[in-house]
Amino acid sequence: MRKTLMFQLICGVLFASITLLLADESRTAKQNQLTKELNVFAAASLSDVLKEISENYAKETGERLVFNFAASSTLERQIEEGAPADVFFSADEEKMDKLENKGLLLPGTRHSLLSNTLVIVVSIDSSLRVNSAFDLTNAAISQVAIGEPSSVPAGIYARQCLTQFGLWQKLKGKCVPTENVRAALAAVESGNADAGIVYKTDARISKGVRVAYEVPVANGPRISYPIAVIRDSREAEAAKRLVRYLGSDGALQVFRKYGFLVDARSH
């Protein structure tokens, strides 16, 4: 008797959950017909600015942008493995080169849109005095959070920058490599890393860190954010429209507001 009751109960729960799942599925399918959805794979450092731009974009065109934010290296690998991306917005040219060499970009859609600046940040309540990259060698600083220095763009830029200053060999041992630039920022915010090297735009959106030193653009690595439509995009026309929109004055103004440098080459 108890067994049959248990069985009925399990069947009921299963049935209910399947119905719910199917109902949800058909609803999203309907939504897709109404509004176009574009999958945008974008560098982690672009997350806040692109969210704001996507709201404007949805208002103007009715098209919805679905984002996948991660380190550009992670995204590049995902696209290579066939992830359904329509547009890729990378934080360095190298990742875009990789996809282009494999023929995964829609020809003629690639161009460089933005640039950025590197800064050294410390936690807002930190008493550390850092006035130059050289101060990172100070014994009071035991951990410096940077993006993973061989794959994550922000980490590669940080490594290049420290190498230019002749500090990389000295500081290598202190570096805590992170998943993406925002994870480096979070490590400094939480106080678990004494300092970090991130983009100026990341430092700007954080209330938990202060900029201790800004690497002058002339002395720093060349930072460049290229964008392109992915070859296998099913919405290639809509994707091209989005790429054009991101290069328009309206979008560039928002990028500037967040502290990005608008790359001269795109004009």
Binding site: S73, T74, R77, E80, S142, A187, S190, N192
Partner: protein, 223 residues
Amino acid sequence: MSAEELQIVWFTLRVAALSTVLILPFGIVVAWLLARRDWRGKSVVETLVALPLVLPPVATGFLLLKFLGRRGPLGSFLHQYFDLDIVFTWRGVVVAIAVMSFPLLVRAARIAFQEVNPRLEQIAATLGAGRLRIFFTITLPLAARGIVAGALLAFSRALGEFGATILVAGNIPGKTQTIALSIYSLVQLGHDTAAFRLLTISVVIAFVVVWLSELFYRRRDHA
């Protein structure tokens, strides 16, 4: 194997072994209390112990990060008074994998204790043996195989832990990078052949450990 791979494998084996040794006494006590005693709050402890098994590993990692970070309740204390950091160090790896593998040890040890016939303990008591003596000469030896099998299982879980480890200890080559974290980094970098090499090594290690733990279970059945 390259020197780096050797370092990663050796490091992983060492932290997993250390974590297993550390949780063993606690695991045995908790398992015995759950198997043999009735007390208030038992079901709460039971659930808490099993929690890391069912929670997403990153959720457990997040809790540990908040607790052990430099601003966390325990982390700030250790940092201030002992100048000891857990987050982003090898200690973080040990803590993360210890918490994640603890439930496996307790589960196996608890079953092992439950299978010990209480009459044997009662007989020992009538012959004048004290509680501790009964535990160490009767209960523990009879449950030993199950406990060792559980410890091996915990060890193998510790070898492969990823989610909690990457949050608490980061992924620092030469410092906190275990086999699992290294495979992840290699795939991210596109170094698939190197990832496959580490994968093969971890398959071999996992095979040996699981095989050993099965061996212990089976022997107990025959005894």
